[in-house]
Structures are given as C-alpha cells and as structure tokens.
Symmetry: C2
Subunit: 212 residues, 2 copies
DNA sequence: GTCGATATCTATCGATCGGTAGGTTGCAAG
DNA sequence: CTTGCAACCTACCGATCGATAGATATCGAC
C-alpha cells in the first residue's frame, strides 16, 4: 500500500548528515536526502528501497553498497536530525539571556531545524520510536531526553530567579515541546507562516502562563 | 517488518463502534477491537490481516466476510474514534459554564476518550491522515475541523465576555490541541497519571496565558 | 599495462502480503 | 426435510518487498 503521509518539498540541506556509512561520501549523502524526502512523504513502510534507488537514479542493489539495510538508512536519518537539533539548541541557547529569551531561542532553534531540514525532521519526528536497532534507538532516546532536559533547566532557572512563578516544570516543558512536535503533523514549508514565527508565538503565548 | 509503535493494553470499550459493516454485529465489533489494539501497537502497515485474524481466533479469509478490505477496518476505527470524541465534547461542553470551565471540560472530554478507548484513539491520532478512501478521509477531516472549531468558539466566547485578553484564537486553540494530540505519543494507560488530570493541568497552565 | 578498490549493474531468491475462489458447517424458517 | 443464508473454512494467486550473488565498469596507483 502506498499512503500519503505528508506533502513535503525539500529544501537542500546546508548541513551534512554525519554518522553511519555516509561520512563524507556524496552518494551516500544523496541517498539519505532522497530517502528522507520519501520517508517524510510516504512513511517508512510506504517507501521501498526501489523507490529510493529510483529517486537517486541508480539501481536498487547499489543502495546496499552504501548501507547494510533499509533500517540503517532510516536510523541514520533520525540520528542526524536529532543530532542537528540538539546542536542548534546548544548554539542558540547560551550566554546571558533571560529565561524567557532562552525559552524562545529554544523554540526558534527547533523551528529553524524544521524549516531548514524538513524531510529529515519529519522522518525523525514521525518515526523516532520506530527504530529497529536497539543501539540507535537508545542513543536517540538519550538525546531526546537531554533535549527535553535542556528546556526544563531553562524553566527551572526562570523559577529560581523569579521570572516565573512556582509551576510544574515537567508539565510546562512538555506543553511547549508538544506544540513544537505536533507541528510535524500540520506545518508545511510552503504554508503562509514560517516555522520560526509560529514557534516563537507558541512560546510567547504559553510563557505568559508562567509569569508570577 | 514489525516495529513497535506503542505498548497499549486495552480497556474494554463501553461504547459500541458504529458505522461500516459492524452495525450491531458482535464479531465485526470484535474484529475492530482487536484491529485497533494491533494498529495502535504496530501501526497499520505493521499489522497484517493474518495478525488480526489470529487475535480474533478465526482464519484470515473470514475477516473478508465482515469487511471488504483492510483499509475499511482502519477507516471504520478512525471514524468511530473521532465520532465518539466529538460526541463526548458535545456532551461535556454545554450549558452555563465560563469559557475557562468550558475549555477544561473540552480537554477532559478528550482525555476521557483517550483513557476509555486507548487503542481506538491511538489508531486514529497516529493515522488519521493515512486513510485511503477519499470519502472517509473527507468525513474525518470535516469532523476534526468541527472539533477544533468548537475550541476556537470557546476561546472567542472568553474574549468577548472579558474572561480572556485579545489573542490569536487560532494559535491558542492549536496550542491546546497540540498538547492533547501529542499525548498519543507518550501517554500510556498504565502510567502514573490519569489522562484526565494531565489534560486538565495542560489547560489550566496554558489558559493562564489567556487572562487579561 | 596491470592490479585492486570502489561503484554500479543484471538477475534472482525466498518470504510475506492483501485478496479471492469456492467449499463446508450450522442453524432458523417454511 | 429441505432450502437459504450467515459464518467460517482450505487452498491458492499475483504482486511486492528486502536482500543477495555475482558480473561489469571506471579509474587512480604503481
């Protein structure tokens, strides 16, 4: 069966996916890019290795020269996405900012990743718990936990310095992340609003409920 | 491939799924219940008709006596879920309540549906845009739109009567619904918190940002 | 010019899947 | 006692899928 999951037109990625067998190999990187587009559009099971090969313009067997199996392609994409996401968050959230500004920077970093790497992000967001390989799955889980913990730390900081009232940190972080994650289900690059402005507005709205 | 999507132990449904070929047929209803469990746990493509038949305790071909194909089983489940959800919302949100109370009742109705029909809800929430049949898909889309519009109406009401400040109604409704929908990705019936209390706390937190 | 590594190909396998054809059983109505 | 139909069965088909085996092509190093 071939079911449409998302209609995604991919921008070219400025960053290079790392890890797996793709390290510095342009053809492997191309396979990852095309696979991400197809996974995002049709889902993992809705994408055959033949589909990927056709998109790249090579034969199916050639795929197996670069990746040991289909699952490795998928887990490499998911890992690359979460790696890039956490890197962006660490890059944007730092230094002397208020907790409010940090929370907004956090959301903007997330949104930047969405818009600059939509196919990778959609593949990861919609299928990050569908990873077969236990090692890769554990690594992704650890990175997602660290990512969520970063936001919790920002909120805790805001409570400690009096910017925010006493509140349930876990719930508050989860609310913001839920909004960001759910964007993968409805936001599309060609839509009227940029991902960054939506994410920023989400945080501004929700953070008002954090104030004393 | 068989990938785990969710670990769901299903409570028995108090309500009867309607529509499709299941109308009042206990065996058809059983097929729907078992299918919902499997779809929620392994996804649509991760569930074979043979899996469903085994779970019910009959042979594969017998499934086709009650449903014309696998897609019909799926769309019947999704339709039943969204139908039940909107019915619950209409039942709980009515009469002379403040907009705040209505919003919380809205979220509680959503959460009640999650906890009383977890397999149906997970199947619908994770795969409602994977419906093949255009008619069913349009119907589901219409019901989801109406459901979201109900929440927008509540928020607009709150703005008009002064409970809430002027705010972006679309964004605000989407924030709440994002939190509720994302619960399908992490909340499990056996967890420490009830779906109702989580949903209620989400709304209480976010709604503080709505106040003047 | 030869060798070896990398990249790609053709051809095919075994398994699984959704779905169908057509027979069998059991029971209720006449 | 027979007819008819719902419910279920056995057996099978055609298509597709992920993956493999093994041949070929390209090209830089020596």
């Amino acid at each position: 069966m071939r079911r449409a999951v998302a209609d995604v037109s991919a921008p070219s990625n400025a960053w290079e996916p790392t890890g797996g067998s793709s390290e510095g190999n342009p053809r492997a990187a191309e396979i990852l890019r095309e696979s991400a587009k197809l996974f995002a559009a049709n889902g993992y099971d809705g994408t055959s290795v033949q589909d990927i090969a056709s998109a790249v313009g090579i034969k199916k067997a050639s795929i197996y020269h670069f990746f040991s199996d289909k699952a490795e392609i998928h887990s490499t994409i998911v890992l690359a996405s979460i790696t890039r996401l956490t890197a962006l968050v660490h890059e944007k959230v730092q230094g002397r900012m208020t907790a409010c500004d940090k929370a907004e920077a956090f959301a903007r970093a997330h949104a930047q990743h969405i818009s600059e790497s939509a196919p990778f992000y959609f593949t990861a967001a919609l299928g990050y718990n569908e990873i077969a390989d236990p090692n890769a799955k554990a690594k992704v889980q650890r990175m997602r936990d660290g990512y969520e913990e970063t936001l919790r730390g920002i909120i805790r900081e805001g409570i400690e310095n009096g910017e925010f009232r006493e509140l349930d940190v876990k719930l508050a972080a989860r609310a913001i992340i839920s909004c960001l994650n759910w964007m993968a289900r409805w936001w599309r690059p060609n839509g009227p609003e940029t991902a960054e402005s939506i994410a920023s507005n989400y945080v501004k709205l929700i953070i008002r409920g954090f104030l004393p």
